[in-house]
């Protein structure tokens, strides 16, 4: 992945519509107020693992460098702890910006491939949309099958402990009337 220090960018790399679009998303409105102070990156517990720090994600987003931002692992490494957001001196909703970038990356199919976080998000999304509830064990097993089936072996000891302590439900939990929930979601698509 391009890390920004070894790669030149040119006018054709810029999508001028990109920052405007992110700024229309809930939480993205104040993006222009960023003073690049780096408080978000300093506060972020995940920053050391990221290819782009949160501050750089904001700078690149404002510059319209869509590809750099959407192919970055950074939005997917956000743990949603909201520490950047409550510390930001310009009151930018940094965590919400990360969510907006995740959704844009999925829409455009530009998220880092074989990265397990979007795969988990999709598995979770599909389970909730069809059953109305999430069964932890099933999500974990599905994620493992799609990314690294051998990891199931490694998980066996803790899985057994959870079963022994009555903390793992193996069946699929669901609401009584999944059709009612689907009616809500479908009606929203029509508008």
């Amino acid at each position: 992945m391009q890390n920004g220090t070894t790669h030149c960018r040119y006018a054709e790399d810029v999508n001028p519509a990109f920052p405007a679009e992110i700024m229309t998303k809930p939480g993205g409105e104040a993006l222009r107020d960023c003073i690049q102070c780096g408080t978000c990156s300093g506060a972020c517990p995940m920053a050391v693992h990221m290819d782009l720090t949160p501050r750089r994600v904001i700078a690149l987003t404002r510059a319209g460098l869509e590809r750099d931002v959407l192919q970055s692992a950074t939005p997917w490494l956000c743990a949603s702890c909201y520490e950047c957001q409550v510390r930001c001196p310009r009151e930018i909703k940094v965590t919400e910006v990360m969510y907006a970038l995740k959704r844009r990356a999925i829409e455009k199919g530009m998220y880092p491939k074989r990265f397990p976080v979007p795969i988990l998000a999709k598995a979770f999304y599909n389970m909730v949309a069809s059953h109305g509830r999430n069964s932890e064990s099933r999500v974990v097993i599905e994620l493992a099958l799609r990314t690294n089936p051998l990891s199931l072996l490694k998980m066996a000891p803790i899985g057994l402990k959870l079963i022994r302590t009555g903390r793992m439900v193996l069946g699929q939990d669901h609401i009584k009337d999944p059709k009612q929930l689907q009616a809500i979601l479908n009606a929203m698509e029509e508008s």
Partner: protein, 288 residues
């Protein structure tokens, strides 16, 4: 009797079962009722929001709409559920276009959301509604010998938590002191455990959780109290992996704050689900 519209969420019937059991026991002991929201659905957590924000709001709003006729405050013990339900309320207020779309969806299912329900966390209720004097009065077995690291995690206090400081919260500290426990100074109290990244990027999750336990032990804690099922699992379920990765023993019992409240009230450990905790509570003082 005050009663709450209880939103257990998915975790509290699975990994977070001891949280559910201890919460019911403690609230019951205090004469507070819990009535489950009928046919509640998953809040959507952080994953659903990553795919479709408006539908994520609708998922949460269905639960709030189901709770409205109950005429009670919604009780959401899971940190992620608490955050998502609160967030949905903010979105419905701040973004009329999203509210219109969500309301249209709810109408298709014969539901109405007016926004009149209040979403509460049990920590808030115990400290601010029940109050520390009433808590002290209910203590029959003070937690002498317990040196507790009060761990709030992220989403109970940020960004929508209304009852405490988002970076240096105090509510759990005061509650634990009222139980007779010694509360250790714990600067990482609202620092992230890694959340759902433990399931996807395990090395990173293990590192964050390891730092939390290392600090708690350095501060001489002999137990850590949590207010979130994911924090509880991350911190207790990976202690062996932490030892193998970092060559340091960070064994520490990880309990729900409600389990400690129940113990101080003299409730039976089994009624509080303590036998389900993975790191045995044996290192805890003799009261257990």
């Amino acid at each position: 009797m005050t009663a709450y519209a209880y939103y257990p969420g998915c975790s509290l019937s699975g990994m977070g079962k001891p949280y559910d059991e201890s919460l019911r026991a403690v609230f019951g002991h205090l004469g507070l009722g819990l009535e489950e929201i009928p046919d509640w659905n998953c809040c959507g957590a952080t994953s659903y929001m990553s795919i479709d924000e408006q539908k994520a709001v609708a998922l949460a709003a269905r639960n709030l709409a189901l709770a409205e006729p109950m005429g009670a405050e919604v009780l959401a013990p899971c940190a992620a559920c608490y955050l998502v339900l609160s967030k949905a309320q903010h979105m419905m207020t701040d973004y009329p276009a999203i509210a219109a779309k969500v309301n249209k969806g709810l109408q298709a299912a014969g539901l109405t959301y007016t926004g009149r329900v209040v979403v509460r966390h049990p920590l808030d209720i115990l400290v601010n509604d029940v109050g520390l004097n009433a808590i002290r009065a209910a203590v029959t077995r003070p937690l002498a010998g317990y040196r507790v690291a009060p761990y709030y995690g992220c989403q109970v206090v940020r960004p929508y938590g209304t009852f405490d400081d988002p970076l240096r919260p105090q509510a759990m500290d005061r509650l634990l002191e009222a139980l007779g426990a010694q509360v250790v100074e714990y600067p990482l109290k609202a620092h992230c455990c890694g959340g759902s990244l433990m399931g996807t990027m395990e090395d990173i999750g293990v590192r964050l959780s390891f730092l939390l336990l290392k600090e708690a032990r350095a501060r001489t804690a002999n137990v850590l109290a949590t207010a979130c099922p994911l924090c509880q699992y991350n911190l207790e379920g990976y202690q062996g992996k932490m030892r193998r990765t970092y060559g340091e023993d960070v064994t520490l019992p990880i309990v729900y704050f409600t389990q400690l409240v129940g113990l101080a009230f003299g409730l039976a450990p089994k009624a509080l689900g303590l036998q389900r905790n993975l790191v045995t509570a044996d290192p805890l003082p003799a009261a257990v």
